[in-house]
Each structure stands twice: as structure tokens, then as C-alpha cells.
């Protein structure tokens, strides 16, 4: 057990070293984790796209235009227009907002709840742990998309409900992983020391145990980001997610994509490229993070 904590400390020191200038740190990252750096670049690009959407595109993402239905890609509409005459590129740029909003909210809430439950489950142990584990088992036995669909059917469609539907299956996944790390940490004497000093349960959980399971937590968090974007796209594609006219990538593939696949392939291709690139970026970045944080894989 001591070995695990030692390596983690080492990783943190490396991460937090303040003397390295930003540019040099970035070059180091590119050299050591080329795929991770590429992923990070995609993520940053996507965030910039979402933030500056208004400046990047001269068109309204939601306004229909009868004169410009299914126009081929050209200088005016670089990715063509869809069956309602809306510029595809504009909708992709604004779609980044929806994707990031859903992705970050679902991943943050889901992984934090999972962290809390996982650490508490490991800390209290006994009957509480046993019951928690059985509840997690139930949730984990459902395919992700089935839980999400059932929740959306219950709450109704729309962005907020989609976020809730995606968050729910994340909680047990994260809790399971965090619990197994927290079980190891619970055995380290400082937890006993904290308890003998008379600290309360919540203080030990929040201040002493949680910071030490950050590595698995961060890994889960980044993997959730990609998963959430993909899940939102799937739900929207099925017509049970984000609703028109909100620009969302999965939704763009729902309406016209199959119908016009032959006559206007750009409607079907570009939103998929956007989804794939975004998830790809988050996954590459997450992988690199795992390499840095996971002591077991580090030496490779």
C-alpha cells in the first residue's frame, strides 16, 4: 500500500512543479505524450469554438431559410446547408456549446456523486457498504443507453433531462472504481490517526480520503466527458434527447441525415465528424492523463 502512495506523491510533484515555464511544459507534454497533446489541442479548440461561436459564424443556427435548403458546400456555406436551409458549419459550431454543456455537467455531477458515495462506502464499510454495492450492482447490470432512455421517458426530453439521464448511470461506475482505491487508503494509518484525533466522519472523508483518490477520480472524469458527449448524441439521434431547434450534433444526424444521405451527404457526414473528433480528443487526453496518474501503468 505504501508503494502506491509514494508513486502518487511523485506524480503530483511533477504535475505541480511551478518553475517550468508554460511553453517549455507544453513542449515537454508533446514530446512525452504526443497523442495526449493532440487530444488536448482538440479539446481546447472545441472550447474556443463554443465560447466564440457568435463571432465565428455570421449565421443564425436556428433560423430556417427556404431559399437555401440543402445547398452544396461552397465558400458561402463551407459545409453546405441542411433541409431547413440552416448552415451546417454554424450549427456545428453552436453544437459544441450543447455538447460541452451536457458533457461537463453530466461528468462533473456524476463523478462527484460517485466519488462521495465510493469513499463513504469504503470508509463506513459493513452493512452500509454491502447495501451500496448491491444497489450499484443493479444499476451496472443495465446497458447505459437503456437506463438513459428509461429516465428520459420518465422525465421528458430536453437538455436538462438528458443531463440527468446521462448522469445517473455514471454515479455507480465512478463509485465502484473510487471505492476500490479508497479501500486501500482506509488501511493506511493516517486515517486511524485522524480518527483518534477526534475528527468527524465527514472531515475524514472530505479532507483526508478524497484527495487521495484523485487519480482514479480524474481518470473516470475524463472518460465520462467523452462518454457523455457520445451518449447525448445517441439520445438526440433517437429523438429522445435535445430537441429542435437547439443545435446539437446528434440531432443534426437525426432528421435529414439518412433521408438525404445520397443527395446531400454533407448533412450526414460533418456532424458525425464533429462528434468523433470531440470524443476522440477527450479520450486521447484522458489516456495520457491515465498514463501520468496511474502508477501501475507508469513505467510503460
Amino acid at each position: 500500500m505504501t508503494m502506491v502512495s509514494e508513486v502518487q506523491v511523485e506524480a503530483e510533484v511533477e504535475e505541480l512543479n511551478p518553475d517550468v515555464p508554460l511553453l517549455q511544459a507544453m513542449l515537454q507534454l508533446i514530446k512525452r505524450q504526443p497523442l495526449g497533446a493532440a487530444g488536448l489541442a482538440v479539446v481546447i479548440l472545441m472550447i474556443l469554438m463554443a465560447v466564440f461561436a457568435n463571432f465565428l459564424s455570421p449565421y443564425d443556427p436556428e433560423a430556417n431559410s427556404l431559399e437555401h435548403m440543402l445547398v452544396e458546400p461552397s465558400w458561402i456555406f463551407p459545409m453546405g446547408t441542411d433541409q431547413f436551409g440552416r448552415d451546417v458549419l454554424t450549427r456545428i459550431i453552436y453544437g459544441a456549446r450543447t455538447a460541452l454543456y451536457v458533457g461537463f455537467t453530466a461528468a462533473t455531477v456524476g463523478s462527484f456523486l460517485g466519488l462521495l458515495l465510493g469513499v463513504a462506502s469504503a470508509y463506513f464499510g459493513g452493512r452500509f457498504d454491502l447495501i451500496m454495492q448491491r444497489v450499484m450492482d443493479v444499476f451496472m447490470a443495465f446497458p447505459l443507453i437503456i437506463i438513459a432512455l428509461a429516465v428520459v421517458a420518465t422525465l421528458g426530453t430536453g437538455t436538462t433531462n438528458v443531463i440527468i439521464a446521462i448522469t445517473i448511470p455514471f454515479v455507480p461506475q465512478c463509485a465502484r472504481v473510487v471505492r476500490s482505491s479508497a479501500l486501500a487508503i482506509r488501511e493506511i494509518p493516517y486515517v486511524d490517526a485522524a480518527r483518534s484525533l477526534g475528527f468527524g466522519h465527514s472531515r475524514i472523508i472530505l479532507r483526508h480520503m478524497m484527495p487521495n483518490v484523485m487519480a482514479p477520480f480524474l481518470i473516470m472524469f475524463t472518460s465520462f466527458l467523452g462518454q457523455a458527449i457520445l451518449l447525448e448524441a445517441s439520445l438526440s439521434y433517437l429523438g429522445m434527447g435535445v430537441q429542435e431547434p437547439t443545435p446539437a450534433w446528434g440531432l443534426m444526424l437525426q432528421g435529414g441525415a439518412e433521408e438525404y444521405a445520397e443527395s446531400a451527404p454533407w448533412v450526414a457526414i460533418w456532424p458525425g465528424v464533429a462528434i468523433s473528433l470531440a470524443v476522440f480528443g477527450f479520450n486521447l487526453f484522458g489516456d495520457a492523463l491515465r498514463d501520468v496518474l496511474d502508477p501501475k501503468l507508469r513505467s510503460r
Binding site: L35, G226, S234, A261, P265, N283, R300
Partner: protein, 323 residues
């Protein structure tokens, strides 16, 4: 061993029971029931009496707890009753689609294994070379690409290339034909969804193969094998690969279990009448009995697959003994 098996089988009961409670409650929370949807769904005026009669017939006026125990009793006695929406026996409706979903799941798993094990092995053997990077990028791309988009691209590709090469656009057949009747026709239809999902599912297995093999390659017995002058091919095939298959088998097994119910999106793209599509329809129709039966089926398959994987472990790795 038998004691362990009995214990594991008993532990399935709380999971299945929890799933039953969860889906029962979720369904009852969905606004609008099957009678309202069936009678008033078309927008016509329906008097309350007709809806009441319909509810009475379907037993929806019974207390919730009675309904719940009916459902559990039906599940335990394998008597699932009729679909609230179509009125046909649930076993019949599921039976119609089960074969298709099972076949796609098996084919997709097959595709995933064919892709994952060789690629994962190459990636591990050529660690940190360009080959490794290409394979890793390829497999991460598999996770990143939504399977429905890959499906659209495949259909689009088939259309365009068949147009260019044969002069007429070709699409996979839409009618499902049993493989026992006409294997060729059946394959023409199902190979594409199997490839689209198989590629996606291969990604996780590829990475698992890579990391498991990397771990095994550091073991002492590999060094011993090399030291005694064994051919590299034998070292890899007989010693390293075989011993690294344990986690890979787990991943493949779990994914197979999920595939049975998780094909929802793929079935939508390829217009396949499988379990996933049936699930979406029955949720939208508030078809309580059908949704409950489907969920219990998917969960039961998942739990049983996990059990089988554990037993498979002991067979694969003689050091593992359950007691």
C-alpha cells in the same frame, strides 16, 4: 466449487429483484399510460369510460403493490403474460426478435475479437513505435465514432460504390431472413451492423489485450522461455498471449452481455427489428409488461454472463480455485 456456484447464483437474486423494483417504479412515473396512448393517441375524442374499461382489463386499477407482485410472480414462473400494446404474448414478441439480436451480438463479438487480439498484440510487441501509435489511434477512434454514424457512413459507402461499380445503387436487404433459410441473404443484411458495432467494441478489447500482454511480457517465465532459446513465435503464442487472455475474456464477455440490449441505436440505423427497437417502442408506448420483461431479460443475461465468465476463469487459469 459447487458451494461457490450456489452462492453466486443466490447473489443474483437481489440484483434481479433490485432491477425489477427500479424498472417498475420508473415505468409508473412516466406520464400517460398505455390506455391513454392507445385510445387517445390519435387525437380523437375518447370518453373516460373507454379508458377506464381498458385500464380495468389490463389490471392497472389494482393497487401498485399487487401489480408488482403479479410481475414478480410472472417472472419467477416464466409466465410473462401479454404485451399491453399489441395484446400478443410477450414470449412471442421477444422470440421474434431475439434471434436477430443474438445473431448480431455474436457476429459483432466475432468481429471485435478478430480485430482486437491481433492488433492489441502487435501494439504491445511494438510498444512506443509508430505501429503502436497507429493501432492506438485506430482503437480510440473506434470508441469515439458513434456507431450510428458509422452505420450511416457504411450505408452511404455501399450506395455510392455500388452505384459506381455496378451501375445501380445497392442497399442491404431490409427483410430479416433466418440464417437457416438463406445464409447468404442473412449475412448480406447483418454483416454491416455487425461490423459497425464490432469495430466499436473491438476498441476496448484491443487496449485490454495490449496492456495485459505488456504486463505478461515482463514476467519471469517469459524471460525463462527466451533464455532457454525458445523461438520468439512460441514465446508469444504459447506463453505470453495465452496468459494475457484472462482480462480480455472478461471484457469481451461483459460487452457481449451489453450488446444484447445495447444495440438500440444500431438497430435504428440499419432498420433492424431487434430487441433494442422493441425496447424503445415499448417505452414510448408505456407498455409496462413488455418493458419489464425486456429489462429483466437483459439484466438476467448480464448477470448470467458474468457468472459464466467467472467459471470460465477457473478453466482458463488453473491457479484460480473458487471456494
Amino acid at each position: 466449487m459447487y458451494k461457490y456456484m450456489a452462492k453466486r447464483l443466490l447473489l443474483m437474486i437481489p440484483t434481479l429483484f433490485g432491477a425489477a423494483v427500479l424498472i417498475f417504479l420508473l415505468l409508473r412515473l412516466i406520464p400517460g399510460d398505455v390506455c391513454e396512448l392507445r385510445l387517445a393517441g390519435t387525437g380523437n375524442y375518447v370518453d373516460q369510460e373507454a379508458i377506464d374499461i381498458c385500464r380495468e382489463n389490463l389490471g392497472m386499477n389494482d393497487a401498485k403493490i399487487v401489480q408488482f407482485f403479479d410481475f414478480i410472480y410472472g417472472f419467477v414462473t416464466f409466465n410473462f403474460g401479454e404485451s399491453m400494446w399489441t395484446g400478443k404474448a410477450i414470449t412471442y414478441e421477444i422470440g421474434l426478435r431475439f434471434q436477430l439480436s443474438l445473431q448480431v451480438a455474436i457476429m459483432a463479438t466475432f468481429v471485435a475479437v478478430i480485430i482486437a487480439i491481433p492488433l492489441g498484440a502487435i501494439s504491445a510487441l511494438k510498444q512506443n513505435t509508430w505501429v503502436d501509435y497507429v493501432v492506438r489511434t485506430f482503437s480510440i477512434a473506434g470508441i469515439a465514432m458513434p456507431s450510428f454514424w458509422l452505420g450511416i457512413l457504411i450505408i452511404l459507402g455501399l450506395l455510392i460504390y455500388s452505384q459506381a461499380w455496378f451501375g445501380e445503387a445497392w442497399m442491404p436487404p431490409i427483410e430479416y431472413v433466418s440464417p437457416l433459410e438463406d445464409l447468404g441473404q442473412n449475412m448480406l443484411q447483418l454483416i454491416w451492423p455487425a461490423v459497425a458495432t464490432g469495430y466499436r467494441y473491438s476498441a476496448v478489447a484491443t487496449r485490454m489485450t495490449r496492456s495485459a500482454l505488456l504486463e505478461v511480457l515482463r514476467e519471469d517465465y517469459i524471460r525463462t522461455a527466451r533464455a532457454k532459446g525458445l523461438m520468439e513465435k512460441l514465446v508469444i503464442n504459447r506463453h505470453a498471449l495465452k496468459n494475457s487472455m484472462l482480462p480480455v475474456v472478461t471484457i469481451i464477455g461483459i460487452e457481449f452481455a451489453f450488446l444484447m440490449g445495447g444495440l438500440v441505436v444500431t438497430e435504428q440505423v440499419f432498420n433492424l427489428n431487434g430487441l433494442g427497437k422493441l425496447f424503445v417502442e415499448s417505452v414510448l408506448n408505456s407498455d409496462y409488461t413488455m418493458t419489464q420483461a425486456l429489462v429483466m431479460l437483459v439484466v438476467a443475461i448480464f448477470v448470467l454472463t458474468n457468472f459464466v465468465i467467472d467459471l470460465f476463469y477457473a478453466w482458463l487459469d488453473p491457479r484460480i480455485r473458487y471456494s
